[in-house]
């Protein structure tokens, strides 16, 4: 079975090469991309089933080098679950963008770079999830970042160049920090293999551990958009094309969170910065959601809620019990799916109404009832209303924190509840204005009322209204279906997440890793 592991990275890279060769033949490109991602989804599902049924992680040493020296690909249940979820998301967003592209008749325009970049992005994400050593994790990050630089400046219009520059410069800084952290860790311990690092870390003095730990966390916090390193995100995500924003929002920040989970649970098991992480999590939740409340543009509202919900994951990570880690992983899966779905729904709004400003858009409820449902379900899910998966994830998280019972935990729980309610407020305000408001209401908008609502934001670009192709609606509806499945099948999924949380507490040793790699 372990022979399947490298396919997760090689298949998308091969697909990207083929798609690049057929740059002028749109249909071949689309076929190649869909085929590649479907195959990866099947491979990932097989891997998840294998890893879950045997309970043992899979390891592959690339190039045949013995374990601590060579590159190790390492798939445990956490990595396998995240790879499955990301490939579902990547596939759905790909279908969405295909629908968008086909309807716009882009056979003539030379944006043939989208499919290759998208597949390389997928390869980078998968490589980061299955990396067994820090340097391979860095390479995975770089692959996905370089692909994301291309995607975020796609078409290179003036606004995209401006926001892309912010994104690129911030990402570069975090990459350099990560590389410096790797150098420092190698200098201190003589290895970059994560399993070996966790065993050797105890030999270092506590102060040195703390410095290395914070350096690594700093690099990952920028990528995960944790306050106060989150300001780049709401600035750069909204201007990108709708499918690109959707996949970035769902996956890129979560790769950062995943790296933080590995750092905390595997590499630095003794060095404890949980109190700091708890405070940072609280600030991320509150500051993020206050930003969302202040915005009047749908994509920006969503970008700010994205930042604030990263806070929940950091919170669960900082509680650091098996139950809270399980809840964090469930919440991560929920958030990847729901945030992507919401961005796709907003992409449809932008297309249907010609704008994403909630002050300009109105009467969508009557004009596009299907679209209204596609926005409403993930919106209340993200806001954490029962019985949806957002509620389950938050409830499990608060439950795990309350078991710890310290005053700080209760402060964070209260902060989490406030954030949840404010998220609901921000999203329902958008619902009321863009969907619920009748079309003719707009005529009697007095200047006072407009001033009260907050004025029209400049970022909301006015484009022509267009019909939504069926395939875009279908892709979004499929994602809404997945969010509902997270709720319906919450039992088995949560059990899996809880067992991952427990497994993270007892990491494998280097000899076990070696044994796995030899099989």
């Amino acid at each position: 079975m372990s022979g399947l592991v490298p396919l997760l990275v090689t298949l998308p890279l091969l697909g990207a090469a083929v798609a690049l060769i057929f740059g002028r033949r749109r249909k071949v490109q689309v076929g190649v991309s869909i085929l590649t991602l479907t195959t990866v989804l099947v491979v990932a599902a097989i891997l998840l089933y294998t890893v879950d049924s045997t309970g043992l992680p899979l390891a592959v040493s690339v190039g045949g080098w013995p374990v601590p020296f060579g590159i190790v690909l390492y798939v445990d249940r956490l990595a396998a679950l995240l790879v499955v979820v990301s490939s579902i998301v990547l596939l759905a967003v790909l279908l969405f963008s295909v629908g968008q592209g086909a309807a716009d008749g882009d056979d003539e325009t030379p944006v043939s770079i989208f499919h290759p970049s998208y597949l390389i992005l997928a390869a980078g994400i998968f490589n980061a999830f299955i990396a067994g050593d820090l340097f391979n994790l860095y390479v995975g990050f770089e692959i996905l970042l370089v692909a994301s630089y291309v995607l975020i400046t796609l078409g290179s219009t003036e606004s995209r160049i401006r926001t892309g520059v912010v994104y690129i410069v911030v990402s570069l800084v975090s990459s350099i920090l990560f590389l410096a952290a790797i150098a420092a860790i190698y200098g201190a311990l003589g290895t970059v293999n994560m399993v070996q690092l966790s065993q050797r870390m105890g030999e270092l003095p506590e102060e040195v551990q703390l410095v290395l730990h914070l350096l690594l966390l700093l690099a990952f916090s920028i990528k995960a958009a944790v306050f106060p390193l989150s300001f780049w995100l709401p600035d750069s995500y909204p201007t990108a094309p709708a499918p690109v924003t959707a996949v970035f929002a769902g996956l890129l920040t979560k790769v950062g969170v995943y790296a933080m989970i590995r750092t905390e649970t595997q590499i630095f098991r003794d060095s404890d910065v949980n109190t700091l992480l708890l405070i940072v999590a609280l600030a991320t939740m509150i500051v993020g959601v206050l930003g969302a409340v202040a915005q009047a543009e749908l994509k920006r509202i969503l970008s700010f809620t994205l930042v604030s919900h990263i806070g929940y994951m950091v919170f669960g990570l900082a509680v650091a019990t098996p139950a809270s880690l399980g809840a964090t992983i469930y919440y991560m899966v929920h958030h990847i799916v729901v945030q992507t779905t919401l961005f796709l729904a907003v992409g449809l709004v932008e297309r249907r109404a010609g704008s994403t400003s909630i002050l300009k858009v109105q009467g969508l409820m009557r004009a596009a009832p299907v679209l209204a449902v596609l926005y409403f379900i993930p919106a209340i899910n993200l806001g954490g209303l029962p019985p949806f998966s957002g509620f389950i994830g938050k409830f499990a998280l608060f439950d795990a924190a309350a078991r710890e019972g310290t005053p700080l935990m209760y402060i964070l729980i209260i902060g989490g509840i406030i954030t949840s309610l404010l998220t609901l407020y921000a999203l329902m305000r958008a619902w009321n204005l863009a969907f619920w408001r009748e079309e003719e209401d707009h005529a009697d908008d007095t200047p006072e009322r407009m001033a009260y609502l907050g004025g029209a934001p400049a970022a909301a670009t006015q484009t022509e209204r267009r019909v939504i192709p069926r395939i875009m609606t279908a892709a979004t509806a499929g994602m809404v279906g997945v969010t509902l499945a997270l709720t319906v099948f919450a039992g088995p999924l949560y059990q899996l997440c809880a067992s991952i949380g427990e497994a993270l507490q007892e990491p494998i040793t280097i000899s076990q890793l070696d044994e796995e790699a030899r099989q």
Partner: protein
């Protein structure tokens, strides 16, 4: 582990200069800053390699103690390739930025400014900052005078055709 003090000092200087240059609004300076930072990180990897020795893997009779550590070298090579690719992309981005606006500066986020303008009483300090900005914060291309904040729409410059598709990934004009 023995390390070279000279390398450490050079590394520190490169890090400092790189961070300073990256804080500029001009993209060309950001690129230079990034190159300095990248090289500083590569030097860091070489520093942790320890004392240089004879080439590993060749000459089987050699004592492993005298070999240099091959892993940091492999890591450095990978990092150099990545830095190279990213700099190429940044150069393309700078060129495009200049093509569009005759400037390579990073602008403020317009929607951020809108939100900020809604609270005029807090604005005094912000406004002062902007007016005090010095004029040479952009790299001066072909004698075109450019201010750091304003977006100039010189789209009809001779020889430059703006053929960027707008708004959606599929393109279309």
């Amino acid at each position: 582990m023995t390390v070279s003090l000279v390398l450490i000092i050079i590394m520190g200087a490169l890090f400092a200069a790189g961070v300073y240059a990256m804080l500029e609004r001009s993209l060309t300076r950001v690129l230079i800053g990034f190159l300095l930072l990248g090289n500083a990180a590569n030097l860091f990897l070489l520093v942790v390699m320890g004392r240089p020795g004879i080439a590993p893997f060749f000459g089987d009779s050699a004592d492993p103690e005298q070999m240099s550590d091959p892993l940091p070298q492999a890591l450095t090579l990978t990092a150099i390739v990545i830095t190279f690719a990213v700099s190429a992309f940044l150069l393309a981005l700078i060129y495009r930025s200049w093509q569009l606006g005759q400037a390579d500066t990073v602008h403020d986020d317009e929607a951020d400014l809108e939100v900020r303008e809604r609270a005029p009483e807090d604005e005094d300090t912000m406004d002062d900052e902007i007016t005090e900005e010095d004029d040479d914060a952009t790299t001066d291309f072909v004698g075109t005078n450019t201010a750091p904040i304003t977006v100039l729409h010189h789209r009809d410059v001779e020889g430059i055709r703006d053929d960027a598709p707008t708004d959606r990934p599929g393109g279309g004009r």
